[in-house]
Symmetry: none
């Protein structure tokens, strides 16, 4: 297994949703990979020679696509790792966070109402029109990586509703536990806060108030 796949992987990380190429100079690539512009250039050319990417010029930058062979190579690794985490590696720890309930900015209800239909389509729940905001004591690194889906930005009633990600989780408190989803607004995401949606009005259902201790477990 050659070092080139690492370069291919690093390139794949730079892809945006639904866009089949990236624009990148060889200096950018070098910075991205922690190597010189010259080496990055060499790697990119080798990847092209190997038929793993296709590059064309697009103004000053290079337009880089991953070819079917490249995709297959990445997929092979993906499936191996998937196999490892979902079947072989038995100690699937849940990623746990602890924190306290806080009051959010208050328009959660309005927002969830707009997103509700799309959420129902995607994850099959009829969310309660409101979010439960939890301030996390020690936030794990990059929880957005655990998201299982994205709702793309959309316009409604002349307003823009930004892209959100969602993560399946369970929320639990003193003697109760409930399946839920963490929603991560891409723009206004506070680093140490998560917003929880659920089919239930969690505050009412479990008699929660600000400051109550809460645990949130992401299901890996």
């Amino acid at each position: 297994m050659n070092r080139k796949v690492l370069v291919l992987y690093e390139l794949s990380r730079r892809f945006e949703n639904g866009v089949d190429h990236i624009l990148l100079s060889s200096s950018d690539a070098g910075r991205l990979l922690g190597i010189s512009q010259q080496s990055a250039c060499r790697y990119i050319n080798e990847l092209e020679r190997d038929g793993l990417i296709k590059k064309t010029r697009s103004g000053q930058k290079q337009r880089i696509e991953i070819t079917e062979n490249g995709i297959n190579l990445l997929r092979e690794i993906y499936l191996d790792l998937k196999n490892f985490f979902e079947y072989k590696y038995k100690y699937k720890q849940k990623l746990s966070m602890e924190g306290r309930i806080i009051t959010g900015i208050g328009d959660g209800a309005y927002y969830i109402k707009e997103y509700a239909e799309k959420l129902k389509e995607r994850i099959g729940i009829n969310p309660f029109y409101g979010t439960l905001n939890v301030k996390i004591d020690r936030m794990p690194f990059k929880i957005e990586k655990y998201s299982i889906g994205v709702i793309e930005e959309f316009r409604e009633k002349n307003r823009i509703f930004g892209r959100i990600r969602y993560i399946p989780a369970t929320i639990s408190g003193d003697g109760w536990s409930e399946d839920c989803f963490i929603v991560l607004p891409e723009r206004t995401h506070h680093k140490d806060e998560v917003e929880i949606i659920s089919e239930k009005n969690l505050r009412r259902e479990f008699g929660l108030k600000d400051g109550d201790k809460i645990r949130v477990d992401i299901l890996l």
Copy 2:
């Protein structure tokens, strides 16, 4: 991103279901990685120094475990790739095949019975002692790539049972759908046919007969 993760990845591929370590000599590792015994030895020691694996001696071989840091590193890559394939890379998330039910060679029942115990261990299902054979209209390229595991050749009652691969999938027909596995015997694999196993007797359960139209979706 260092070359070491490739070594870690290659090690992870060698893990068996539910076993938290592998037994491996440095020569084995070298062969596995396509490098010399010396380099493999050096890499393994570096991985240990970096806290990504833990090694102990177990007789002649080394017993290698992946530490929590190592797991986290692999998981980061896994989640990146998952993100790539499930959200960024828009083309074919499910791999769909259409075909028609045919009658297999008839000893599927006997075979599955022998493989059943191993299948149960690996994928947690109690397969019905029989396969449903489907002749696929247009077979996608190399579906064996999507297999999540292998049952190695074994001897039983003086017969050799060859290596098979299995792929999680759903099978669906007119108004019904069921989780299943595609099994691919490595030797006698007809290019345009798949054998389906499931916990249910699919023919009886859904009233299927030869010629019925069927869709099989591989879950990527």
